[in-house]
Symmetry: C2
Subunit: 270 residues, 2 copies
């Protein structure tokens, strides 16, 4: 089982992050707990010391399967679906600025909140079309660099653009880039998917990374999602990507990291 957990390298208002801080504060601890990867949440890669990050990764032996980008929306309001051409341009530019780091780390890049949502006073069709245009521009750049981009369906309260796996598959058809895939997240799926396992099976060709959080967004084991059944399904379909813990820092950050891996090892197929 390839297991990672999300670490935000910069302070953020986004709450569903078990860990925040510097590489040297977390990497060794995560490796000791049994993680072999760390997913990095990065608002702006130009503010990160890439060499230091890479040194710490090499020192710890952790890999980075994915980079999360949503903080540029949460903190700066950048979004692919904005009616403002200026904001869309900045959002695309920001996404593209992750690609060189992703290439260096051999990581995928996540498109979650960065697509934004269509606000009440805006036209949904136009917002959707702007998101598509922005995604196409990003895919073109990602193809050149050989980087995978993954659109994460989010629940209805966080966006009105791609809530379900089914909507995600339609989107992939519309964009038609071999570098674009999906990123299922069990917390969002618990709200949006009638049967989580069925949707994970349907999405099988389209994801190489998955987020695990329990029904209450605490670490797996603290809610009622049937992770044993989900792990069984992933095993059955031959899933070989990372399972990445994206959850609230509950009961506290260290307990979240420890609790998640302990629980998943307990319910995993031996």
């Amino acid at each position: 089982m390839n297991l990672s957990i999300v670490l935000s390298l910069q302070p953020t208002q986004f709450s569903a992050l078990a860990l925040q801080g510097n590489p040297e504060d977390h990497f060794h601890k995560l490796k000791t707990l049994g993680y072999n990867g760390v997913e990095l949440a990065i608002r702006d890669p130009s503010l990160i010391n890439w060499n230091h990050l890479e040194e710490e990764l090499n020192f710890s032996g952790l890999v980075v399967p994915a980079i999360g980008t949503g903080q540029a929306y949460v903190e700066e309001g950048l979004r692919f679906s904005s009616p403002s051409a200026e904001i869309r341009k900045k959002a695309i530019h920001r996404l593209k600025s992750h690609l060189p780091l992703a290439k260096r780390l051999q990581a995928g890049v996540i498109i979650g909140l960065l697509r934004g949502k269509v606000e009440k006073n805006e036209d949904f069709g136009k917002g959707y079309a702007w998101m598509i245009d922005s995604l196409r521009a990003c895919c073109e750049a990602a193809e050149k660099e050989g980087i995978k981009l993954w659109v994460e369906p989010l629940n209805r309260y966080e966006t009105n653009l791609i809530n379900t796996i089914e909507e995600g598959i339609v989107l992939l058809d519309q964009i038609c880039s071999k570098n674009l895939g999906l990123l299922p997240d069990t917390f969002h799926m618990n709200i949006e998917e009638p049967v989580i396992e069925e949707s994970l099976r349907k999405a099988n060709p389209y994801y190489k990374h998955i987020h695990f959080a329990d029904s209450n967004r605490w670490p797996p084991g603290f809610g009622h999602i049937d992770f044993k059944s989900i792990l069984h399904l992933l095993n059955e379909i031959g899933y070989s990507g990372f399972i990445s813990i994206e959850c609230l820092p509950r009961p506290d950050p260290d307990e979240a990291a420890r609790g998640a891996i302990d629980y998943l090892k307990k319910v995993a197929i031996p």
Copy 2:
């Protein structure tokens, strides 16, 4: 099984309502489907023709177990937790204006969205205290009229004031009114409660009315909530109140009303 479904008597932006319209358009149909109650969502009772409503109820044989009040928040911004004394006063006044109708119909009155939420720029402690003060004023009036008020825990995206059954029980302790109870809702519980059945058991002394919607807020049977297990629990604890369908109008309003009752009769203990 006492079964009701929510009907909004006035147009609203709130989406989780299977039915909207006039009593004469719905009551007979609901009775024919097998419902014995109708929960009314009312923004402002002064705009309702009470005599007509009562005639239609008598004609159909339906009872009204509960009146929902949240539209005054959604449509008019009234809330118990507002920093504005004027808005709090209006919210309390609006809640009190439901009591005479509730008395006539022998219905409970629901406090869902009407408590509002503490906004980002507001102080949480103050907002919580204002909610408490407002609830106390409403409870005092409800006690005089002999009406039950039920606080509905809502998921984290809809409010930051009372998300869980546990927080609801703390609130009841703080208010200490024999007329105040809770109203569990399975859609919200699927997000907030680690184990829905356990929380329903803990809340047992405090609720006489419960909302059913599936995990995706569609009618029961369209998502993954285990209603068979919940009905078993309700049976075991001797629950005798109404089960009230508060869900999205999916696949369409009529199908929601029909689908919910068909499904619940199928999974109910014979």
